[in-house]
Structures are given as C-alpha cells and as structure tokens.
Symmetry: C2
Subunit: 204 residues, 2 copies
Amino acid sequence: MQERAVRTRERILHAAAEVFDEYGYAGTSITRILERAGSTHGALYFHFKSKEDLARAVIVEQARGLDLPKKPAGLQQLVDLTLRLAFELQRSVLLRAGVRLAVEQEESGLREYSVYACWIDRFRRELDEARQRGELLPEVDETEFARVLVASFTGTQVMSQIATRRADLPERIALLWRYLLPGVAPAEVRERLVVAVERGRTPA
Amino acid sequence: MQERAVRTRERILHAAAEVFDEYGYAGTSITRILERAGSTHGALYFHFKSKEDLARAVIVEQARGLDLPKKPAGLQQLVDLTLRLAFELQRSVLLRAGVRLAVEQEESGLREYSVYACWIDRFRRELDEARQRGELLPEVDETEFARVLVASFTGTQVMSQIATRRADLPERIALLWRYLLPGVAPAEVRERLVVAVERGRTPA
C-alpha cells in the first residue's frame, strides 16, 4: 500500500476503535466512524468491506502498537506482560475496543477465536522459555496453562470494567497471580518472582 | 402477587431470556418478547418498566430454578458447584441469557455488578466452610479467592462459548481447577478432592 493509503486506513481503524469503545457494536454506524475519522465513504470502503469487517480488524489488530517485548524471557516476563496489558487497557483505545468486541462478539455475529489463540500463543512462548529455564513444575502443560491464563485475564477485565471502569484492573491481575503461581512454579522460583503492579506501568 | 400474576411474570421473563440469548440486547425488542411469550403489552408493563428493566431481571434472577445446595459443605462442593454451573449453562436459557447480558452489559448501558457479588458471596460461603474444615492454606483470603474464581469462570465461559458454543465448558472448568487448587489447598486435601467433569452432570 502507498504510505498515504496506510495512513488513511490507520486513521479509520483508530476512529472505529474509538466509536466501538464508546457505543459498542450495535450502537456504532459507519456514518459515525466517518465523522470521527474525517473521512469519506470511498476511502473507508477501499479498506474495509463493512462494519463487521471493521470490527474484525479492531479485534485482530488490538495489540498493534503496544511494543511488547519480542524475545520470550520466562515467567517474570509473563507476569509483567499481563500487568502491562492491564495498564494498556486503560490507555490504548484500540486494545480496549478490540477486547470489548472480542468479549461481546455474539452481538456482532462474529466468531473470531483467533485473537484468543494469538494471546494463548504469545503467553505460551514465555512458558516455553520458562520451561527451558527450569521455572515450571513438571505437571504444567504450557499450552493448557496459557489458555487458563487468557481466560482468567479476560474474565478479570470484564469484572473490573463493570466494577471500576478498569481502574482496579492491575491490582486484580496481581491478585490472580497470587492464586495461579503455586500451580505453576516451584516455591524457590516463586520466591524470586516479583508480582508488583508498578512493573506494568512502564514498557517491559 | 396473585398466582396468576406470578405465572405471567414467569412466562414473560422466560421468553425474554430466550430472545436475549438468541439476539443479544440490541437485537431484542419488546414486540419480539411479547410474541414469544404470547402476552400483551399491558401484562408486560405491569411487571417490567422497560427492556432495560427486563434485562436487569434476567441478569439478577439468572440462578433461580437451579436448585443449588443450600448448605455450604466446603471445597469439594465448591468444585462440584462450578462444574454443575458449566452444565447448567448448556441447559438453562435463563442462566445463559443472564450470564451473557452480565458480560455484555455495556451494550445495554446497565452496570449491574450485583450478580457478580452474589456469586462471589455464594462461593465464599463454601470457602468459609472449607476454612472451618481445615481445607484451605493459611495464606488464602476467602473473599479474594472467591472473586478470582468468579472472574476466571466468567472468562472461561466467554472463550468456550466462542470456541465451541460451550460444549467444552465443563472440561475447561476442570482444567482451571487443576491450576487453581495448589494455591488454595494443601497437598493432603487436594489428594482427597475429585475434580471430575461427571460430577457436574447431576444436581449435587
């Protein structure tokens, strides 16, 4: 794509994320997105076929621009990553809208499991590295636990959103780890791990 | 209320649950609910002020008719209860619609944390009993863990719904326990516990 086309697509995607985040899937119209983006029907339909297509893009591209660590580094980085995501959900409208649409996807008629599969894969890479480093209990299945972690994170953010508009999400994620870690790591590894909300504040 | 009024309210609530379950909040209209219930506007508005009011009733009354054990009995009953709920989500349209509306409540503009608070309380009573019976590790905070469990269950059912329309939910809940139990119960208690999907099939 030409650079200008890339920028236009980006502007429309970001506007769509803002509107989905604010009004949900049903409350969002193409017109409202165009107003927000300051764009034309032609430009929008050049990049996206429909509102559904836009919602799918917001779901699938939710993590773009987060600048997450590329190289897996084991259990501490996995903990830090989840705390970081808790803060990013407060900051990034693309992540927030993507997560909301993923959770509420029955509303949109989408069935897009791929974004969950992506996070499972991302977390599993840290767990594979953790295994290499001897940080995991023998009975842990890396893929299984990655799935449990994505599910638990998802439900935690749903409840935090309703209770406090996600203001307490980092604390809730830290608490979740308190109960998950004994099932994953031996005591001597847990002693070295730091589960501290502040670690999520700045990019890892 | 007169018996007839009670039955009418029940019929309308059940019809609303069916329609919400099928079409979501935005896709549901009062007309559609009336058609499904075979009822009149007058009857509906006698019991419920609005679509929002109906959605709130479905959320809050989601667990009615489940015939859950009244008397707390500790950790095994808590495990069984969550497995039972996994099956009930496949069977009971009221529970299913209530959970869906609770998770997607931004769509409806509701902010009804009370149903989560109810489940936290229900689970905490089992944990209090578990504490009495010496089934919990000293560092476990009963209310905290009840909250973690409700959040993890919620996220697990969201993912299972998208992946398999909840067909694999009981297995996913059993798996969740595999990773949660070591943070909650000492080894000798865990050895006695049975985490088996079949235990959720029949009422506890």
